[in-house]
């Protein structure tokens, strides 16, 4: 793993600032040529994800601060991003942050409340604060929470 990859991998998602873009599977590739020029490839979670511009700027800033003079960031669409690329570590961080991670629906037909752990939850809105999330509410602790949709 190159030094540039490590720096890029530490950039946080601006909408979910507890997980890195590497954790989420948004960071696809980082290459460094012999002139020290860095080429980064990132992929959006959704076509219209407004965080992509910010992520791109954050990448340039982080790599430039680390001494890389030429940094370019490319958006790639294929292969299409899927929540399967999210690491287990990212899912644990999301839960701790209060966002139910993807992947639990198919197993239990319910989403575990990130607050109290109850499975007595229901979807209150199929769309949430960002394109990648839906809104849920817990029947046990009565708290509403975001769920990162399996995609």
């Amino acid at each position: 793993m190159s030094g540039a990859w490590k720096i890029a991998a530490d950039v946080l998602d601006p909408e979910l600032p507890v997980v890195t873009i590497a954790d989420l599977g948004i960071l696809r590739d980082v290459t460094e040529d012999d002139q020290g020029r860095v080429h980064v490839q990132i992929t959006p979670t959704y076509s219209g994800c407004p965080a992509m511009e910010t992520i791109s700027e954050d990448l340039v800033e982080a790599l430039t601060a680390a001494g890389y003079q030429h940094v370019d960031v490319e958006f790639v669409l294929a292969p299409a991003w899927t929540t399967d690329w999210m690491t287990e570590e990212a899912k644990a961080k999301l839960t701790a942050y209060g966002v139910a991670p993807p992947g639990q629906v198919s197993l239990t037909l319910s989403v575990r409340c990130p607050q109290c752990g109850s499975l007595d939850t229901r979807e209150s809105s199929r769309f949430g604060s960002t394109a990648c999330k839906s809104l849920w509410v817990c029947g046990s602790c009565r708290e509403p929470f975001d769920h990162f949709k399996a995609h």
């Binding site: 959704y46 076509s47 669409l77 294929a78 292969p79 809105s125 769309f127």
Partner: protein
């Protein structure tokens, strides 16, 4: 005879314009939806469509080879240069109309993007492979509302039926032949119609028996509504050329 690259850019422009104009119509609902959750839903659906439009228009500009960016194409063309179908350009200020249209449009996009995802054009296949998952979610949303309204009260049933009757004449234009098409629009027709009709029947509504409207959006012929939509959408960009946030 149109050169192949012109035909391809025109085709991609049509797909991008459908998504862009639909997104703009969808954004009208922000702050006007019947409940807060629906405000979020329609804003998110519009945002997905806008994202698709951006990648499609950027690609259309690239194929065209004249250096026009996605912004140039979205904000600096007049209505006669837009290639979207009439289905998406008419106002949708009734919630039933918005859901009837979304049901038709998202079902069409599902079939279209699924087919394009295995196209030989790698860029379009990439865009479509990404977008197909998004529009499937839109379709599911429109389906749930169609069922709820169609199989709801006498009032909601009647209004949903009127909405369908109004959208139906514009369905055929989606399947009109297009030069340069990588997926023949006609090949999508039976799957789209049967999937939409299945929902209509399940919602206890009737499949409208109406004649197709004339259409002509793919050739740049539009209803008067598109001009008004563009005036609002393009005003800022044209009033302040080169403006950035």
């Amino acid at each position: 005879m149109t050169a192949p690259s012109d035909a391809l850019s025109d085709y991609v422009l049509g797909l991008g314009d459908d998504a862009l104009v639909s997104a703009q119509r969808m954004s009208w609902w922000i702050s006007r939806a019947p409940e807060l959750e629906e405000d979020l839903a329609l804003a998110n659906i519009g945002l997905d469509q806008l994202g698709q439009a951006r990648t499609l228009l950027a690609y259309a500009g690239e194929v065209e080879g004249t250096g026009r960016s996605e912004d140039d194409l979205a904000y600096l063309r007049d209505d006669r240069d837009f290639r979207n179908v009439w289905l998406v350009e008419r106002p949708q200020t009734d919630f039933g109309v918005a859901m009837a249209r979304l049901l038709v449009f998202s079902t069409y996009q599902c079939e279209l993007y699924a087919a394009l995802a295995s196209s030989t054009d790698a860029t379009l296949a990439g865009i479509a492979g990404k977008a197909v998952k998004e529009v499937a979610y839109h379709r599911d949303h429109a389906r749930l509302w169609t069922l709820r309204l169609g199989d709801g009260t006498t009032e909601s049933h009647a209004r949903m039926q009127v909405a369908l009757e109004g959208e139906w004449p514009h369905v055929e234009e989606l399947f009109a032949p297009v030069e340069g098409a990588l997926v023949d629009p006609q090949s999508l027709r039976s799957a789209v119609l049967s999937r939409v009709e299945e929902v209509v029947v399940e919602a206890t509504l009737s499949v409208p028996q109406v004649s197709p409207a004339i259409g002509g959006g793919r050739r740049g012929l539009h209803t008067e509504h598109l001009g008004h939509l563009l005036a609002e959408m393009q005003d800022l960009h044209r009033s302040h050329p080169g403006v950035t946030w």
